[in-house]
Symmetry: C2
Subunit: 164 residues, 2 copies
DNA sequence: TCCCAATATCTTGATGTCAAGATACCGTGG
DNA sequence: CCACGGTATCTTGACATCAAGATATTGGGA
């Protein structure tokens, strides 16, 4: 039985009609991934706003939170979040102004800035994380249990390929 | 046999260690989708730059290109691209300035602005599309043929859920 | 006919991000 | 001990986007 067409199927059909000689199969994967990420980001943005955070803020707090040392350098944060150093400076400024993190100089290398989580920052990021996880559980409910691991495996393969 | 851990597995492990009571399984799906989209967008941005386009430009041209009428209203474009009307005004301004599209008033309703593709715009968007498709084929090569349809099916399920 | 809510687009002001350059610092080799 | 390439962060200027409001138009109901 055919599931009804979604927005991506419409897009694929449109291109297939205009360029009949091309094999547009890959769009079924990549367009859906792009669209999923876009919609999911909107959900996350909305959920985080209730905690007074924006997406970038959460990513920074989250990276520090799950780091064993309890602190990371600005450069590590920028690399892990896939943003430029200038963007990271801005984000840290914002979080410092709210008292959620602190900057401190490295003892051995004065070029390095360590960023550590303050108690209030940890409280907020933990609460936000739990809520985001709740949303993800809710969304993932539409995938049958047995289908989940294969899905994760395919995504892992794609990610390995694209990050190589 | 265990595949080696990727960046998302590290993130998941980090959170699992900090919050042992939570079931973080869904992150394996959603964090990978987000990261994939981010990396893939960077690839697309790079490929499109060679054609003198940015992501938003391509999305606009692409939407008009695959529309049977050969023209769309500003509002339709904004809705289909998931951006605000202000953003769409900017994008159309940019494309009109380069002569890739044209604005014209609707005959029946003076509020409506129709945007149609000019020949040069069609040439550029077609060339860009073929190149993007080539990149997608290349990336999708890492997924075995038999695994592709199940992957598409799961993504379609997720998308249907998240857009509902 | 006239009014008014709904519709479609554009304008304005603020913001987050990036690219490129500036600044400060480290460590090695002469 | 000094110079210099490499490293880490911050600053600057430009830009795409958004939210909210302004403008203009339509279609119906009093």
């Amino acid at each position: 039985m055919e599931r009804h067409m979604d927005a991506v199927d419409e897009i694929i059909d449109g291109w297939q009609r205009v360029m009949p000689s091309e094999d547009v199969e890959p769009m079924g994967v990549f367009s859906r991934i792009g669209r999923l990420a876009q919609r999911f980001d909107a959900l996350r943005r909305n959920a985080l706003a209730a905690h007074g955070l924006q997406l970038g803020d959460f990513d920074v707090l989250s990276a520090i939170r799950r780091c064993p040392d309890g602190a990371m350098t600005a450069g590590q944060l920028a690399k892990e979040n896939l943003v430029t150093s200038g963007t990271m400076t801005n984000r840290i400024d914002r979080l410092v102004a709210r008292g959620l993190v602190g900057r401190s100089a490295d003892v051995a290398d004065a070029r390095i800035v360590r960023v550590q989580l303050h108690p209030e920052g940890q409280r907020i990021v933990d609460a936000a994380f739990v809520e985001l996880l709740r949303i993800e559980h809710e969304l993932l409910g539409c995938i049958r249990d047995a289908d989940r691991q294969p899905l994760v495996d395919r995504l892992r393969e794609l990610l390995a390929r694209i990050e190589a």
